[in-house]
């Protein structure tokens, strides 16, 4: 079944300079594998439709059931230069919650927010 990432993982944004650091943390090790397979760095960047100007690097931390996306050029030059209302990019991570993830029926009990 096709779910949103919101049902599969939780997210948090941080900032350093003009680089956004977005953590995607799956609710279980099985769901982590699904996200790892279905959300690559390039898919992540494409989903932000030009908001991320630079490269996206994905780091894996399976022990924490987490992927870390480091997105360069995502913050309009950085906190003090940005013209974005959310100049720290603290709400930037919430866009990826709408990313579609295919989840097998057997993992339904591990989803949240249904």
């Amino acid at each position: 079944m096709l779910m949103q990432l919101r049902n599969v993982a939780h997210v948090r944004s941080g900032d350093k300079g003009n680089t956004a650091c977005i953590s995607v943390i799956a609710f279980s090790p099985e769901l982590y594998e699904l996200v790892r397979e279905q959300l690559s760095a390039s898919q992540f960047k494409a989903f932000y439709k030009g908001v991320i100007a630079g490269d996206v690097t994905r780091y894996e931390a399976p022990g924490l059931t987490a992927l870390q996306f480091v997105a360069e050029g995502a913050l309009g030059g950085g906190v003090s230069r940005s013209l974005c209302l959310d100049n720290y990019g603290k709400a930037l991570c919430s866009a990826i919650l709408a990313y579609p993830i295919e989840v097998p029926e057997r993992l339904q009990n591990e989803l949240r927010g249904l």
């Binding site: 948090r12 931390a61 870390q68």
Partner: protein, 450 residues
């Protein structure tokens, strides 16, 4: 096994003060640590000092924070580590001595740690800006401030010299919390096997409520009890480098593997190589165990030898930003907002606005996620038009507010607009990062006594 209790007292300049007082009074703490700086804090303080020589140059909430925590800390014998010194740690130390005397506490030693400010020699000590590949010399004409990020060592030295309170200039956030562990457990500055896990604990604590249920709640998916009554975290650290994260009983919020995980990963970029001045932390080996209600044990974190360089932040004047907004509601709101945008675009041509960048957004539609916002949604009931532009001069930036003024009676029907209640033009202090050799940033300690 020896252990100590370290609590957070602030995670940024504007943080709440009651949870700090609560930790001081009820946390049964050996150490209470304040983190009060953002990336641009030092450069903003330098600019303010230049304009207003009476600005003391330390945390503007120093008085409030010290009055809140000193009684509890003195009673328990809790030592304080704080980066509230900003560009004037000696001034902060003297001010803390004043408050100690007010409380009748005599003979308390307060250490001021200096040495991070390298404005006058930054171009000699740095080469390139990794973010844009240019030499730091390209910033020559615009530099207002430069500071290196010190590690835990000067704080450890101050504690060893008997300081009950240590107040510092720029020190890397996790180092503020690592220093008490190094002092108490005798960890060597090159002992990366212990400094790795110690810095990880520091990283969890440095953002305060971000590991106790703050910046976390998402109703229906991640619920947090009493989110209006959050506590700041306490770590019960043992000499092996593992810790239990907890909080004062009776407070709201939550400490779970999920809340701690979000904070473990927060802003660390590569989780296998989180670089601090003291060590390189590898979080990928971490174990988080929920061992009781609001109690999470963090263990298994690894460390790698520290780098040869320290991070440097360079603050530069980069012009101005003008910003303002106005509102629409009811049927047709978005259409009126779009016409207002068109009017502004034409007006900016007529008044010859010279902007480096300009952005006109609709709050409620696309002001947060920009181009990544969905375009197939129903019209919002309310929408705000927000306009912002970055310019080289204050005069150009002022045109934004002046043109929004024009939208009041020369704009679109049913426009809602506030009388400006704050300055709509602000100066931009951009921050660039570079690296400097560790040996070129000597630190120093001045000791004061109440």
């Amino acid at each position: 096994m020896a252990s100590i209790r370290i609590g957070t007292a602030s995670a940024w300049w504007g943080d709440r003060i009651e949870p700090a007082k609560l930790n001081a009074e009820q946390g049964d703490l050996d150490y209470l640590c304040f983190e009060t700086m953002a990336e641009a804090t030092i450069s903003a303080a330098q600019v303010r000092k230049r304009r207003d020589p009476s600005f003391p140059g330390y945390d503007t909430y120093l008085d409030d924070r010290m009055q809140a925590v000193l009684p509890g800390c003195l009673k328990r014998g809790t030592r304080i580590v704080s980066n509230q010194g900003w560009i004037n740690p000696d001034g902060a130390a003297e001010r803390i001595v004043h408050w100690l005397r007010e409380l009748g506490a005599r003979g308390v030693k307060v250490a001021a740690v200096s040495g991070s400010l390298i404005t006058d020699r930054v171009l000699d000590q740095t080469d390139t800006i990794p973010e844009n590949g240019k030499p730091t010399a390209s910033l020559t004409d615009s530099i207002v401030s430069a500071e290196a990020y010190l590690g835990a060592e000067p704080i450890v030295a101050a504690l060893r010299d008997g300081a009950q309170i240590v107040v510092t200039t720029r020190v890397a956030d996790p180092s503020l919390f690592l220093a008490p562990m190094m002092h108490q457990f005798g960890w060597d500055p090159l002992d990366h096997a212990h400094l790795g896990p110690g810095s990880a604990i520091g990283h969890v604590l440095e953002c305060g409520a971000q590991c106790t249920g703050g910046y976390f709640a998402d109703p229906g998916i991640k619920d947090v009890p009493e989110p209006w009554n959050l506590a700041f975290p306490i770590a019960e650290v043992d000499e092996s480098g593992s810790a239990v994260i907890s909080k004062v009983a009776g407070t709201g919020g939550a400490i779970t593997a999920m809340t701690v995980k979000e904070q473990v990963l927060y802003e660390v970029h590569d989780p296998a190589n989180y670089i601090t001045p003291d060590v390189v932390v590898d979080f990928t080996t971490a174990r988080l165990d929920e061992i009781g209600p609001d109690r999470v044990r963090i263990s298994g974190v690894s460390g790698k030898p520290r780098t040869l360089t320290l991070k440097v932040s360079i603050g530069c004047t980069e012009g101005f930003i003008g910003e303002d907004m106005f509102f629409y509601a009811g049927p047709g709101a978005l259409g009126r907002a779009k016409l207002a945008r068109r009017i502004l675009e034409e007006r900016f041509k007529i008044v010859g606005l010279k902007a480096e960048d300009i952005r006109i957004d609709f709050i409620g539609v696309n002001a947060i996620h920009g181009a990544a916002s969905p375009t197939d949604r129903e019209e919002p009931y309310e929408v705000a038009v927000r306009v912002a532009a970055r310019t080289l001069t204050r005069e150009e930036a002022n045109k934004i507010g002046r043109e929004v003024d024009g939208m009041a009676i020369s704009g679109v029907g049913m426009t809602g607009k506030r009388v400006p209640h704050q300055d709509r033009t602000r100066e931009v202090i951009g921050v660039w990062s570079s690296l400097t050799p560790r040996a070129k940033v000597p630190w120093s300690i001045n000791m004061y006594e109440s």
